[in-house]
Structures are given as structure tokens and as C-alpha cells.
Symmetry: C2
Subunit: 635 residues, 2 copies
């Protein structure tokens, strides 16, 4: 992957007044710009508002369909169309209280859009969002998507300076009014002052940003007089480049606000920023193509994993290192140095053997004698295990072909090693499997892992919302997905909901199989405090696990084991996006439920608002995935 991994195209807006269009486009190209941003119509076209309404006849003829005239237009021919983003007229007022202006604005906007579609412009830019009501604007945007079926529609939103979050609020309302129409995108315009609060910046990561507009006055001059961005703007723009690869549009460059660099200075600086992004790290490289992509979680208990899946996960540089460390410390703690005691280690769910190798390496390093069993129910993986035994392990390892819940072990072990964890901790049924396997763990034996904890956080992501909605059925809106998050924003920090400990000596006779699975039922109600208004699309899930004492693995964002790529987060969608008002308390209820054949999760989200002396309930989603109707994990 080259330096150009996060390359963005850079464009420039036409000066006012424009002068000669051909010259401008030629200059822009020669100064290194990839595209230009040009008004579709001339100011002359404002005539169609008929604000005076002096001629009813002309008004009616125009409303009946009279086309644009050449005098009305800036973009007249298709010569440059391929590199032009068309700007709609800024006098168009879709929220005017004056019926005449509002209705004529709509007709005019559609005329400009039809013309833009006719020219084949690759994208169009709407005027800045109205600051008061917005429902007419939203309605017209929806009908615009039919006219502009090929062009990218960019809605211009100014990121506010934090005191009044108008740009965000208006866009978010617009987006909800249009049912999060996937044809509508944000052209985010930076202001000289960015919002003070980091979450007011980060919430934009949940939105479909396709362009970033940087006015020349946002740039400061460096010591040599060249335009550069202030530090905070820099890091925000870099984050946007990584997450969205947006087009960058420079406006007002013709004002000559910066002494040095000439007309290509802004463009060159943006490309410099682009190049200065660090190349993707191991995890990022591993994730290419998976960002915001919904994957069904593995069901390794019901299904047999494929060789390629083992292959991929065995490459994790961190996970096995941590397991080795855990076994190493367990051995040191359990057996005195120099002892001849042979420690029996059973690796349950051995797969193709990586945890067997970890355990052997740990024993060598600890200088402790061990004997191992590798228990695996997948017959295909067993072939590899058998090979390993024949060629490497020999008598050190006994291979067992069995479901660990059914196996009748010839002896009990000192250390039970397993890795049956999913992105949500227990979602690959580690609790149920280990309930069955702990029969052959000695009363004072050690389970690695010794516990795992599940975390959740309310999440906003229009991208994930679109991905789920694309399935157009109930089932997919109640199914958890494994996702490498990219265009998402946490509405609040993750919180733990439950923990499983192993071995489990409290809930049933340690030596026998459990009669039922009710002890693995969990329920937790958790509250989160939302800061600004935002739309919630689902719940992010994470886990961490204590392998042994202080040896941990984690995919919790705050404590993520660096470089470990075996688990992406999990995402539980909501059937319908939930608007979270400023200051609301979000309550998320989670259930882990079970019957004789399966395990499933149910979840629901409620909201309330504390107002002076009372709490006002703001409603609730339905309980999702009732009875596991849409998604479950087979026992």
C-alpha cells in the first residue's frame, strides 16, 4: 500500500464574479485541481421568483413549464461537465413563508437540477441549509434524488463553532426527515473556529461525508506566508480523509489571503496533508474492505470452520502471545520450580493447534513438565492436528475427536485452555461449552480464560443503518453483525453489562453436566448520558477477558490489545433509528436468553429526560429479537 492510500481529489470554487468559465476551468486544471465548483445558473435567473408578481401571465407560463434560457445559465455546454460540481442558486428559498417564493423556489431548483442531469454533472452542491424550519427543504431533497439519479448530491453544512450547533442540528433533522436517504451526502464546510467539544466534532463521523469545504480564510499563514491549516483543523481533516476519502473543495481562494504559494498553494497543502497520513498499520491492513461491512458472526459450535478461517486467525500476533503468557504464569504459580510433577493441560476447541503450541512454548519457557490433550469436534481440523502430532508433537499431545461437552475424559486436567470467545464475549457459547468441559478440570484446576466481560455503547452510524436497511426485512434488523467500525460515532462511552467466570462452581455440581442452561441467562439494564442531539442506529458491543490474573485480551476501545485483529466489534442494529435529544438519558436493556437448543440476545432502548424536578419518559423501542425469532446461536 503506497503513500496514496488515502488520496482525495481536490477542487476549487469559481470566483465571484466568474468572468470567463473556460479560462477559469483551464487555470484550475493547470494549477493542479481535479475539479471545479461552478454555479449552474446565472443571477439573472432569479427573475423566476416573480417577487413583484406584476405579470400573472408570465408567472403562469413559467410555472407551466417554460425552460431556462441561455441568459439564465452559467453552465451552458457539456465541454467541462465531467470536472464540474454544479452549485444551485443561493437565492432559492425552500422555507420561505411566502407561498409565491417557496413554490417558485422549488420549481427553479428542479429546473436547475434537470439541467444539471442533462449536462451529466458528476455532482451538485446545494445552498447552505436554512436555519429555521427545514421540512420543505427535506421534502424537496427527496424528490431531487429522482431527478438526479446519477449525480452525487452534496448538502452544504457549516460545522458550527460550538455555541449553537445549528449546522449539525439542521442536517440531522433533515436526514431524519428524509428517512436517511442514502442519495443525500454532506459537504461539510469548516469554520475558522471548530466546535470546542470533541464529541461535537466526532459525531460527524457517523454521517455520509462526501466532501469537505475549506474556505481560504480558515487557512493561516506559515512563517513563509504559505497557507496551512491550524493544528485542530489539520487533525480533523486527516481523520476525515482516513474515514471518508472525501473530495476537498477550497473556496474563496481568489481573495489572495495568503502571500506565498500562488493559486496552487491550497491544493498543494491538502495533498501534503494527504501524504503525511501514516500508512495503514497491521490491523488496518487486515481490515481493508471490511470497514463498516456487516458480517454474520461465526457459529463455530454449529458449523465447522473452514481452513481459511483458521489460517486467518492463527496469524494474530497478539492473541497467542497473551495465551502463552497466561499458561506460562499459571504453570509458574501451580508447580514449584524444579518439580517433576507433570501438569496436564487440555486444550478444548483446539482447532488446528495454535493454543497447543502456545502451551508447549509456555511450558518450555517456564521449564515445567506438561502433557497435553487437544480436543476438537471439527473432523477437518483434526486432520491437521493429527499431522502435527505425527510430525511435531508425538507423545506429548493426545488428540481427541469429540465435542468437549460430550467427551468422557480418561483423567482430569490441571489447566483447561480454550478460546471460544466472540466479539460479544459469550456469543460463540463459551459459557455453555466450558460448562460441559469443566467436568474434567481438577477441583483446584485453572481455566484459561478465567473470565470475560461484555461491554455495550449506544452507536450512531448512517452507513451501518443503510447497510442493515438494504436487506429490507425484519430479520436483518434484529441480527447482530461483526463489523470493523469506521464511519461511526459513540454516543457515550462503553459500559460493562455482564461477566462469565470459569470454572463455574456455584450453579451446578462441578462434576456433572448442568441439567439446564438457566444459570447462563443474563439481564442487565444500563444507562448512558448523551451529550448533544444525535440519532442512534444501534449498539456497539465489545469484550475483554482475563486469561489468567493480569494477563488480558481486550477489544474494548479504551483498552484494546494493540495489534490484535482476531475480533472486530459487534453491532446490534435498531429496527428504526432513535433520535436522542440533547441531554437525554439512554437506557439499554440486554438479555442473554436460552432454551434447550439455542442461545439468543434481546435488546431494547428507552429514553428519558430529567427536567428540573422530574423525569419525563421519551418512549422506548420494542424489545428486539423476541424469543430469538430473527437471530440465535445453536447449542
Amino acid at each position: 500500500m503506497s503513500e496514496g492510500f488515502y488520496n482525495c481529489s481536490v477542487g476549487i470554487t469559481a470566483p465571484t464574479p466568474l468572468g470567463n468559465l473556460d479560462d477559469f476551468v483551464e487555470d484550475a486544471t493547470q494549477t493542479g485541481h481535479d475539479f471545479v465548483v461552478v454555479p449552474i445558473a446565472d443571477d439573472h435567473y432569479k427573475r423566476v421568483l416573480f417577487e413583484e408578481a406584476d405579470s400573472k401571465k408570465q408567472l403562469n407560463e413559467w410555472r407551466a413549464g417554460l425552460p431556462l434560457t441561455p441568459k439564465d445559465l452559467v453552465l451552458k455546454k457539456v465541454d467541462w461537465a465531467g470536472v464540474c460540481t454544479g452549485i444551485f442558486s443561493d437565492w432559492i428559498d425552500l422555507e420561505s413563508e411566502d407561498d409565491l417564493i417557496r413554490i417558485n423556489s422549488e420549481i427553479a431548483l428542479k429546473q436547475e437540477a434537470t439541467w444539471a442531469a442533462h449536462l451529466g454533472l458528476p455532482s451538485v452542491l446545494l445552498p447552505i441549509l436554512p436555519s429555521n424550519t427545514i421540512s420543505n427543504f427535506a421534502r424537496v431533497m427527496c424528490s431531487l434524488t429522482n431527478i438526479l439519479s446519477y449525480a452525487q448530491i452534496l448538502i452544504r453544512v457549516i460545522i458550527s463553532d460550538g455555541s449553537e450547533a445549528t449546522g449539525w442540528t439542521q442536517w440531522n433533522t433533515l436526514y431524519n426527515l428524509t428517512e436517511q436517504n442514502p442519495k443525500l451526502n454532506v459537504a461539510l464546510e469548516l469554520s475558522a473556529q471548530l466546535p470546542m467539544e470533541e464529541d461535537q466534532i466526532e459525531r460527524w463521523y457517523s454521517m455520509p461525508i462526501k466532501a469537505v469545504i475549506i474556505p481560504a480564510n480558515v487557512f493561516i499563514s506559515n512563517q513563509k506566508g504559505f497557507p496551512v491549516l491550524p493544528k485542530r483543523h489539520q487533525s480533523f481533516v486527516k481523520a476525515l480523509m482516513k474515514k471518508f476519502k472525501p473530495s476537498i473543495i477550497v473556496t474563496a481562494s481568489e481573495l489572495g489571503l495568503h502571500q506565498a504559494g500562488g493559486p496552487s498553494a491550497y491544493q498543494e497543502y491538502i495533498r501534503y496533508l494527504n501524504r503525511s497520513l501514516p500508512p495503514p498499520d497491521d490491523v488496518e491492513r487486515f481490515s481493508v474492505g471490511y470497514q463498516d461491512y456487516l458480517q454474520a458472526p461465526l457459529q463455530p459450535l454449529m458449523d465447522n470452520l473452514e481452513s481459511a478461517t483458521y489460517e486467518t486467525f492463527e496469524k494474530d500476533p497478539i492473541k497467542y502471545q497473551q495465551y502463552e503468557k497466561a499458561v506460562y504464569h499459571a504453570l509458574l504459580d501451580r508447580v514449584p520450580e524444579g518439580s517433576d510433577v507433570v501438569t496436564v493441560i487440555m486444550v478444548v476447541g483446539a482447532g488446528r493447534g495454535p493454543l497447543v503450541n502456545c502451551s508447549i512454548r509456555a511450558a518450555e519457557k517456564a521449564n515445567r513438565k506438561v502433557r497435553l490433550y487437544a480436543v476438537e469436534k471439527n473432523p477437518n481440523a483434526l486432520v491437521t492436528l493429527q499431522n502435527m502430532k505425527d510430525e511435531v508433537w508425538h507423545d506429548l499431545v493426545t488428540i481427541v475427536f469429540s465435542d468437549m461437552r460430550k467427551w468422557v475424559a480418561p483423567e482430569k486436567c490441571d489447566i483447561l485452555v480454550s478460546e471460544l470467545l466472540g466479539s460479544f464475549g459469550d456469543n460463540e457459547l463459551s459459557p455453555e461449552c466450558l460448562d460441559g468441559a469443566q467436568k474434567f478440570l481438577k477441583p483446584d484446576g485453572i481455566s484459561i480464560p478465567s473470565s470475560y466481560t461484555t461491554y455495550i455503547a449506544p452507536l450512531s452510524s448512517s452507513k451501518l443503518c443503510h447497510e442493515v436497511a438494504a436487506y429490507k426485512d425484519l430479520e436483518h434488523s434484529e441480527t447482530p453483525y461483526v463489523v470493523m467500525f469506521q464511519q461511526v460515532s459513540h454516543i457515550a462511552e462503553p459500559k460493562p453489562i455482564w461477566t462469565f467466570h470459569h470454572p463455574n462452581k456455584d450453579d451446578f455440581e462441578a462434576d456433572s453436566d448442568p441439567l439446564h442452561n438457566m444459570h447462563n441467562v443474563r439481564f442487565q439494564s444500563t444507562t448512558f448520558q448523551a451529550k448533544g442531539n444525535i440519532t442512534m442506529h444501534g449498539i456497539a458491543g465489545y469484550f475483554d477477558s482475563v486469561l489468567y490474573k493480569d494477563v488480558m485480551i481486550s477489544i474494548h476501545p479504551e483498552t484494546h490489545s494493540p495489534g490484535m485483529f482476531s475480533w472486530f466489534p459487534i453491532f446490534f442494529p435498531l429496527q428504526t433509528p432513535v433520535f436522542v435529544p440533547e441531554g437525554a438519558t439512554i437506557t439499554i436493556d440486554y438479555w442473554r436468553l436460552t432454551d434447550n437448543k439455542k442461545v439468543w440476545y434481546e435488546w431494547r432502548v428507552g429514553q428519558s429526560l430529567n427536567v428540573v424536578d422530574k423525569t419525563i419518559e421519551l418512549g422506548t423501542t420494542p424489545v428486539h429479537n423476541i424469543g430469538g425469532r430473527s437471530s440465535w446461536i445453536g447449542l
Copy 2:
């Protein structure tokens, strides 16, 4: 229709302690009760909570599936099952914070439910709703609907006395948590004090009430010592009987709170109330079978109405009376008494001629000379018109077969009479039709109607919500329906949104056809103040019309023309129910939009809350029916 039109069945709850079940059922039947309400399980069954948890082994065996024992049961055999409503144990606590009690309660409830299903009980009654959290309860109710696929599930809710609206709030939350599961019904228990505010009573009309529980202590004694209900209870129970025909359950009758009447007194009083309901009036009789039933609005412009449709609407006793009055006053105003002037009346959209007859009667009464044209585009109706001319009207009436928008009239008229109105006023395209017809109205001519106004109100109705949801598609959730409202509750009083006036002399040349239809576009944003928390399922639409001066017709609930049955209200659904918190302001935006081929409505609902010094936005629905994608009226 007999006195028994609103008959309800009456049942009685078993006393505590029950004694002999057979005797109780026999007594109850002999004292005139239709059914009995009996516990499914004995108190002995509470053992399964294992609150002491002294025997893990027994707990686990029970959890693994040990069935109920005879000692656990009250209802043991199927003898009486057909007349029994089973009550679940009241110690079942699905919201306990103690995992043991909560999980065991769920298992116990399901065991009782399975037993009730096995016995084939026609209905079951849940314990009183928990008063704090309710999401576990809701989740379990959903899974109960699978066990009890044939029995009616009654959730017991106590109507509160108004100070704390716990019963309502808890039920409403429960219902939203279960996605308004149509298998869940309310058994509404009356308290001695009903809520003070009328809207706290009326909002129950939007809920699926299948039973009303009346404890004996709610009855007062009349002069002779017989139990009777207080006035307010009486009228509430009567309203419930009319709307829901619920089962009535009397509880605690064994306490002997009333001196006279004996064990059958309550039952007899309820049947007396039942009989005292006035028989259905004309409109109600006309509406039988149509209550809360969704009908697609007529499209008389695109489709030709059938003979039966004309037949039905011609029977309206009020509408034609009002039209006759309107024409009568118009004639009196327009022509001096004794004048020989012949007034030309054109009836456009004459159908089978009722408005022609009205006009002739009006002229006779006014003693004015008239000449009439009957313009109709439906060839089938024309046959009847021609018959009428041949047999009754002769030269007085000229029959014209034409679309009124296309007709080239041989002369201009003095009075243009039409009835092209829909439940939403303009939704059968009266504005567009009269735009075309007014060409042949004299400059000083009179249009009857002279105007019509559309009204909307936010509406709650679980019934209508279910009806729409049953279609399981987007289209039906964005289509307006004509509905005779019954199980509904207005969230706020209706407000006007727009008016059309005729003739229209402002928007285009009076003598010519309009070049376009933009002058019939309408937009209105209206706010409503909600009182208590409630769930909004859609919008009710009404109209009134000034036929001439003070001669009106109206289907607005406050001013409804008595006895007029030609129009039911209209209902615009919401895609997803909207929870309306206490004190919220509801904003409804409505659009009437048009292109060359059709007219359609779009709508959206937003909410906000005024908190001390600021307004907090609570979110918005999407704009519904964008571009008329789901419903429209053909021009």
C-alpha cells in the same frame, strides 16, 4: 337491531379462599354469570420461587422441566374449562432484581400458561402490572403469545385516580415494548375514583380493551340497598360497552358489601346498564361493520362510481337538505321576488341526479324560474339521468355527457352546483374540477359550495395501527383511509389547515383553463399541545364546507351535521407509532402537492418539549409519501 345490540358477557371472580371449585362454578352459573375467573395454580406452587434456595438440586431439577403437581393446581380438569378465565399467580414477579426470583417467575408463568393452553381455557388474566420497570414483563408477554396461541391474553391494568397515571403509563410502555402485539389485550380495572381529567379516561378508547373489571367496592348502594355504579362510572362503562363490547368481570362480590340483591345483583345491574344503552341511531346503523375498518378513499374522477355507491349516498337525509337550502337562499338573493328572470343552474358531477332534484325543489320553494344543466362524465349514471329527463324533468333539464373540465358550454350559468368533496375536503379533486368548470360560471355567478376547509388532529388508535400493519408494506403505511372511528382517541382537538374558495378569480384568467395546477398546492405547519403521555398512530382528517353563506355541512366532530352519513373521517397513518411524552408539542406538516397527472398529500410529525427557558427537539418522523410514491389521486 334489538336491545341486545351491545350485549356483554358477565363473569365473576372466585372468592378467596376458593373452597370447592365445582360448587363455585355451579353457583356462578345459577346466579346468571356467563363465565368464572379462577386461579390456575394454588398458593402451594409458590414453592418454585426457591427463595431460600436451600436445595440447589431441587431447583435445578425443576428448572430442567419438572411439571406441575396436582397439589400445585386449582384448575385440574377440563370440565369447566370452557367457562373459565384463568388467573396467573400473583406472586409471579417478572421484574424482581433478584435473578433467582425473576428467572423462576418466568419459568413458573410459562408453566401455568402451558397448563392453561393444555386445558383449552378461552382466556387468561395476568397479575397487576409491575409499577416500576416493565421491560422483562413485556418480553415475557411476547413469548407468552406463542404458548397461548388460542387463548385471549388479558393484561390487568388499574385505571388510576388521576394523580399518578401509573396504570396507563405502564400499559402504554408495555404495549410499545411489545410492538403493540395484537395478541395482548387490556382488562381494565375500575377504581373507586376515576381520573379527574376527561382525557385521561378517553385515551383508553385507543387501546384494545377486551374486559372491564369492576370490584364490588366500586359499586355504591341505591336507596333499596342494591349495588349500582356512580354516575361517572356508569357513563364510562356504557361508552366502553358501545365501543368494545368487553367482558365484564365482577371481583370481590363474595364480601357482601351491598345489602340487597344477593349474589346475582351485580350481574343483573350490568345487564340493566347494557339494556339501557340507546339503540343505534341512523348514522350508527349505517356504520355497522365499518367501525375502524380501513377503506380506500373513492377516486370518482379516475374511476366511475357504481350504482350501489350512488344508491347509498343518495339516502343521506341531511346533505341534500342542506344543498336545497343553499340553492334556495342563493335564488332568493339573486332574483327579486316576482321576477321573470330564468336562473341557469348547472349541476356538475350530477351523478344520478340528486342535486338536480334539490335544485328543482329549491326553485319551487323559492318560487323562482330556473333552467338546469346536468353535467356528468360517468356513462352509466347518464342512463339514469336520461331516464329522469324522459320521465320527470323533460325540458327543464339539459343532460350533458362530458368531463366538466372539458365541456364547451353553450351559455354561462348563474349558479354552479357541485358535490365533489371527500372526507379531507379537497381529496376528490374538487378544486381541480371546479377550476375547469368555473369557465362557464357568469362573472357574478355563485358556486355552491363556496368554500371548504380541511381539519387535522393527532390520533391514537391501536386498532387502526394493527389494521395498517397487517398489510406489511410501505405503501399501506403511507396511504390515507376512510374510516368510521370507534376505538380511537384524539390527542388534541382538530385544527384547520387550509381552505379552497370558489370561484377562484385570483390565480388564473377566470374565462380560461389554468395552465398548471400550482395554485392548488397547499402547505401548512400546525402545532398541537398534548396533555398526557400517549402513543400517536396517525392523523385524523375532517372537513367542513360553506355551501352558501351560513348553510354548512361538516364532519368536524364539534360541528358535525347531525345525521349526515355521507362522509366518514379520513385517517393518515404513520409508518411507526410515535410516543408523545407528557406536555409535548406536536408539529404536523401537511402538503397538498401536484404534478400534471396527479395530486397527493405528504405529511410528517415532529415533537418538542418546552423546558423552563428552552425548547428541546424530540425528533421527527420522515416525510411520508414522498412524491406521492404510495398514494395519489389521478387528475
